[in-house]
Structure formats: structure tokens, C-alpha cells
Symmetry: C2
Subunit: 259 residues, 2 copies
């Protein structure tokens, strides 16, 4: 199926000082315009004005109520950017860049996560813990829509997201490159706290209802679970992502040679 | 303010197989009726039928369209229960029960979390990690609605939830009882991984936008943050809850005397 079958808006709004600033620095998204709330004068808006000026990006001043109306329920801090449509990153580029962080490459693969809120929260969490990239299957998966961008709180500006036709084949390629493939499943008795996370990793999170699919599970070197001390069998998938990424971060920090 | 000022429905609907099943098992909510979609025959509906039968709860079959009409926008999987209104637990009872788990009492206080999705996910996470209870302020906070129950995946059946008029005063009482009060804030440089979690705890999570309020923060013995290795400043509040509760669980397990 061609990419033209995937319907997406041609532009979207990026809210908030930090997200706009990072989008301008990173250059992963093309900023078409910057909007600043009327009467807002601070070191921060000054910085945005200067950056936009340097890049030849037009800036206009809008009523703060208008900005809030355009982005209901979002904290924009009086700074909004209009960006060209979200661009997925190249799979090989993402993996190559991740491997520059020797033994600490960290890719996340979403095995058919369908809820946009979950995908957005997971992108935010992955960016918070400095994952190098997110791999999404092209079909039967939530896509990076305006709603996902919003739910990610602008984290799409930091986290390279790549799409693959066949997740199983993508994992085969990553295995050849030396990645350790770890699936997360509530059914596993192997605890995330016991796992050795100090290597090049692909962490796979499964569908909200079905978990990790059979074809993906058989490609995992290891399947780990978050031990529940209570009665609940599972966590929301974006919360589970947060718990595991936090443990990876904690272990990697602990293994760092002190200065 | 009297409790009668808080407007709530006298009964509510519990959607979905898991949530209905757990509500039947736990018995914290009183199920008045169970509705199953016409023509829906599966091992799951069979189980629900059997459980309802044992408890003398009437079951009726309804058109799936009718169920969807009753619960717009919710995934009910053809299984719905009509329950007596959700009952909040007594504050003193919750704290007393938690303190029976010596040095491991774990209460969570939500300092004005307003999003129902976040509250539901947090309840699910708290139940997963065996928190003893959740404290909500009566005003300016999301309440336990049908949507929250659904988003909690039935965890409301396990986690005692109590409401207080004044969160600050509730914390004063808990301090007197010997609880260590810890606030979570992205601004704190004190890492959640360095904190000693082996004591009777109240963990406070703040509002989605404003974080922990000033009056609550001044009552904290300690304010801790989740260190970000990336560019994002903060996590979704329910993900942050998951990360911290996971670290509490990990540390407490590590400190357990081996058998």
C-alpha cells in the first residue's frame, strides 16, 4: 500500500515555548510560522523571535484567547508554531544513529498499539527517557495524527519515529545488527528489575488487548514482565513503557563510571 | 460542606468483561443487574452468567446497539453491569488499615487531578502496585465517574478511595500518625531512585498543569523528581505515578529478608 492511502493533515500546531524552541533547533519538522501571544514580552519570547528571524520564519502576534481556541485544553504558554506535516524518519538512519551510543542503543517497537492517547503518552515517555527511536507497523496501528502529537506534548519533535511494513522482518534486521530484543508481557515471570539492560536494545510493547503477537514474540531474545504486587493483571501500556524505561535508565546510570 | 452537596448518580454502569468480572469477585460495589448483548455467546459471557447466577443477580439480554447507546464512546464488549453508586471509603479506616503493613503503608494523594483518564489510569496503577488507598480532595478534582471506573479497568474494586474536604489538613493528620510525606515534582533535583522508600508513606501527585500546590508542598517532608535523560521536562501524571510506585516496589522487595 502506498503512503498516499494514509490520510494525514498537511500541517499541525506545536504548542509551548520548549517544544517550539526544540523544533526550531532540531529542524526535524519544518516550521512555517510562529505565533506569539500579544503583549507577551519575556526573555523566552525574545529567544524565539531571534531564532525565527535567523531562519527567515515569519512571526505574527495573536490574541491569547485565539491561541487557546486553536489548541483547546493545551498549555501553549503564548508560543505556538505552525509546522508542515509530520515526517516519519528512515528506519536505517534511526538504527544507525542509535548504535552510535555504544551498548546503550534504545529503540522501542509498538506491536500494533491502536489507541492514540496511549501512543501519544508513549512517545512523550520515550522522549523523556531518551529513547533513540520508535518503530511503528504501517498497518493496524495508531498513526502520528494531530491528536497523537498533542497527547505527546510535543515529544514528536525529539523522538525519531519510523514505520515498517513488517515488524517481524524489521526485528530480524535489528537482530543481525546485534540488538537484544526484549518483549514486555504481563505473563512473563522474568522481572524487569532482574534484566540486564546494559546493551543495545529493542523494547517491544504489545497491543492494548492482545499483547505481543505470536510472530513478534518468537523473535524476542527475552520476554520480561513487571511484577504485580496486587490483584491487577496489567498496567496501561504507556504506564508499562514508563516503568520499564525508568528501570533501564536507572540501571544504566548505576553502571556509569563515576567522574 | 455536607456530602449532599456533591451531586452523584445513585447508580452507574460498569462496562466491559474484566471490570464487571472483578466487581463481581471483589464485592466492594453492589451489582444490581448484569446486561449481556443479545447473541453474544463466549466462554467469557458464560463465566459472567455463572457468577451472576451464584450471587442471585438478575441477568438480562439487550441489543448491542442499546448498550452502546447507554454508554456512548465506551468499549463495553457486550457486558455491562448496573451498580449501586460507587462508595468512597472512610479516611480513618483507610489509614488505619494501611498502617497494619508496618513501615510499608503506602497512600497516594492526588492534589487536584482533573482529567478522568489520568485518574482512572492512576487508580489502575496504584492497585497494580498494591497501594493501600487513594486520597482525593472533594473539590476541583476528578471524581470516580463511570468513565473513571472504565479507565481504571476495574481497579476501583481493589483500591479504597477516600475523599477529604481539605487535603492540607488530611496531611497534617497523617504526619501526626507518623507518615512520611513525599511530593512528586519535575522541578526537584532529588531523584526518586535515591529516596528511601522503606517507611510509611504518603505519595503526592500534583495537578496536570500546575503540579503540587503551595499549601501541599509546604507539608512535604521531601520533594522528589524523576530525572529526565532527554529534553522533555515532564511525564504524564499517571506514567509518573507508575514510575515512582515501581521504584517503591523494587526497593521494598530488595529490602525484604530472604526466606
Amino acid at each position: 500500500m502506498g503512503g498516499d492511502l494514509i490520510s494525514e493533515k498537511t500541517s499541525y500546531l506545536i504548542p509551548g515555548f520548549h517544544t517550539v524552541r526544540e523544533s526550531l533547533i532540531q529542524g526535524r519538522v519544518t516550521i512555517l510560522e510562529v505565533w506569539i501571544a500579544e503583549g507577551k514580552k519575556s526573555a523566552r519570547t525574545g529567544e524565539i523571535l531571534k531564532m525565527a528571524g535567523k531562519r527567515g520564519i515569519p512571526v505574527s502576534f495573536k490574541k491569547i484567547a485565539e491561541l487557546s481556541h486553536l489548541m483547546p485544553g493545551m498549555t501553549h504558554q503564548g508560543v505556538v508554531a505552525l509546522a508542515e506535516k509530520f515526517t516519519y524518519s528512515d528506519f536505517n538512519k534511526v538504527t544507525d544513529i542509535s548504535m552510535q551510543d555504544h551498548d546503550r542503543a534504545l529503540l522501542i517497537a509498538a506491536d500494533h498499539i491502536t489507541d492514540e492517547g496511549n501512543l501519544g503518552a508513549m512517545i512523550r515517555t520515550a522522549a523523556f527517557f531518551s529513547a533513540h527511536g520508535l518503530i511503528l507497523p504501517k498497518d493496524r496501528s495508531a498513526k502520528v495524527t494531530a491528536n497523537v502529537l498533542k497527547r505527546s506534548s510535543g515529544a514528536c519533535a525529539y523522538l525519531p519515529i519510523t514505520r515498517v511494513v513488517n515488524l517481524g522482518r524489521a526485528l530480524d534486521l535489528l537482530e543481525k545488527k546485534g540488538f537484544w530484543i526484549v518483549g514486555a508481557s504481563g505473563e512473563s515471570s522474568e522481572s524487569v528489575y532482574q534484566c540486564d539492560w546494559n546493551r543495545d536494545l529493542v523494547l517491544i510493547l504489545g497491543n492494548e488487548q492482545k499483547g505481543i503477537s505470536r510472530t513478534v514474540k518468537k523473535r524476542c531474545h527475552q520476554v520480561v514482565g513487571i511484577p504485580s504486587s496486587g490483584h491487577m493483571e496489567s498496567l496501561n501500556v504507556s504506564v508499562a513503557a514508563g516503568v520499564i524505561l525508568s528501570e533501564i535508565f536507572r540501571q544504566r546510570e548505576a553502571f556509569k563510571t563515576p567522574d
